[in-house]
């Protein structure tokens, strides 16, 4: 079992779709949402994905193909 903490950013096109819910159904991955903020134009969710590593990677590729941006929880580690 491994776990990955990520931030999803939804665009206007993807913000109304139940993508986190679908991700949990399409893949053997448990989604654990910790923080989120969504409005009509854009939204983000910080969540933990728990499952086997290959399955997590597959699920992230899938959600990315739906137009969701995936970032590490920390934001950019690189600084000025």
């Amino acid at each position: 079992m491994s776990s990955k903490k990520v931030r999803f950013t939804f665009s206007t096109a993807s913000v109304t779709e139940p993508l986190v819910y679908q991700l949990g159904h399409e893949f053997k991955v448990v989604t654990n949402i910790r923080m989120a903020d969504v409005d009509e134009k854009i939204g983000w969710v910080i969540l933990e994905l728990i499952g086997n590593e290959a399955e997590i990677i597959k699920s992230l590729e899938w959600v990315s193909s739906k137009g969701v941006r995936i970032d590490p929880l920390e934001g950019d580690v690189i600084a000025g």
Partner: protein, 409 residues
């Protein structure tokens, strides 16, 4: 003496031990240092600060580290300069310039690294690491050299030569990564997780970020213990911006300043402006961006403190602006020609955004404003080299010079 008492989650308020951690176990929110302000208030005074050293260590009671571990190459207590010509040019009656270009490695990053390295030594780390587009790399390399620690510095492989040499000279282990920002981020997150390093903006981040508060402490002290009406601050991750505001609030809380009515406005480059764009669109949910700007020091597409910066703008009735590459160059030149200060691209962003804020009426002519200039120009000569008036070229003959000189008039 340090009065830090815990790390506190900025979202849920849960408290954690003072360890090398940065995010809340429960809600994943970022952690921030919490202090015993009653004790600080009892101990600190304007006099005790005035009697301290001419560096940021004069605020030691407000810093999150045991100062016996400090590594002092002279960061902080930089000049606050009253602007005459730039103020007049912009139509402002009361403009100050906080000139942080004169820090030991010529940027404000010496403030955050001073705290990060002291805390890292206190934790017992041997290695100080960072991922940087230049300024942070310079500062980490220099401070580690002074402390006899190993510096591990990661950079994209296409940076200005001033920033590369400005790191290499201190003999760090410098790694230039052939990849985009996302690649560098991913690599460094992995390396940080699998090595026992003090990574200044990962596991040291709660302590590191506190160093930026010293800019607020200095400005207030230099103004005679009061806060200005308006601050214009360059933003990359947004940390500096939020911490200057935190610093002013703390000074008010411990009674060193009375009124606090400062408006905080942020400055970004148009080619990397997730925070300013969100502000202008009226949302706190910024969209991460792929940076494309000459202001490499501000080219952070997914700003860790972007959300908090937007909250500070809301709280203080502040604003946000952005400047194109051409405007950045004009800003650098305007500051140099009016104030004799040669800033790097981030300074050009600050000047250009201040100009826009005044022109649009966000900053009124009589607001006492502090402009933060956070890095020096010799680091980014590439940005301006093609935009200078050419030198007079002659052979060593008086007539030739006079001839050319007379043409100028």
């Amino acid at each position: 003496m340090s009065y830090e008492i815990a790390l506190k989650c900025r979202e849920c308020g849960r408290k954690f031990e003072l360890l090398a951690i940065y995010s809340c176990e429960f809600c994943f929110g970022p952690l921030e240092v919490d202090y015993d302000y009653d004790q600080i208030k009892a101990k600190i005074s304007k006099e005790s600060i005035a009697n301290g050293p001419s560096s940021l260590w004069r605020y030691e009671d407000l810093l999150p580290c045991d100062t016996s571990f400090k590594v002092d190459i002279g960061a902080g207590f930089t000049p606050l300069i009253k602007s005459q010509s730039l103020a007049k040019h912009l139509g402002l009656k009361n403009l100050w310039i906080k000139n942080d270009t004169v820090n030991p490695t010529w940027s404000f990053k010496d403030r955050v690294v001073s705290i990060a390295i002291a805390r890292a030594r206190q934790f017992g780390y041997q290695d100080l690491a960072c991922a940087s587009t230049g300024n942070l790399a310079n500062s980490v390399s220099a401070h580690a050299a002074k402390a006899g620690m190993r510096a591990l510095v990661f950079m994209p492989d296409d940076l200005e030569s001033g920033k590369v040499i400005g790191s290499l000279v201190y003999n760090p282990i410098l790694t230039m990564v052939d990849g985009n920002y996302d690649d560098v981020n991913r690599l460094c997150t992995e390396l940080a997780a699998s090595n026992n390093w003090a990574f200044v903006n990962i596991n040291m981040r709660p302590y590191y970020a506190e160093g930026s508060r010293t800019l607020a402490f200095e400005v207030a002290e230099q103004l005679g213990w009061r806060a200005p009406d308006h601050c214009v601050v360059p933003m990359a991750s947004g940390s500096l911006f939020t911490k200057i505001w935190k610093g002013f609030k703390e000074l008010q809380h411990i009674g060193l300043i009375n009124n606090l009515d400062t408006r905080m406005s942020g400055a970004q480059a148009t080619g990397c402006s997730p925070i300013s764009k969100a502000f202008q669109e009226g949302t706190k949910n910024f969209v991460p961006q792929k940076p494309n700007t000459i202001a490499r020091s501000l080219a952070i597409g997914n700003p860790a403190d972007g959300y908090y910066a937007l909250k500070v703008m809301e709280e203080t009735d502040g604003s946000a602006e952005m400047a194109s590459d051409a405007e950045i160059v004009q800003g650098i030149k305007l500051l140099a020609e009016t104030e004799g200060i040669f800033a790097e691209t981030a300074g050009g962003v600050s000047v250009a955004c201040l100009k826009k804020l005044v022109e649009s009426g966000v900053i009124s002519t009589d607001e006492e404003t502090v402009l933060f200039i956070t890095g020096a120009g010799l680091k980014t000569v590439e940005a301006v080299v093609d935009n200078m008036k050419p030198a007079i070229m002659i052979s060593p003959k008086t007539e030739e010079f006079m001839d050319q000189f007379n043409k100028l008039k």
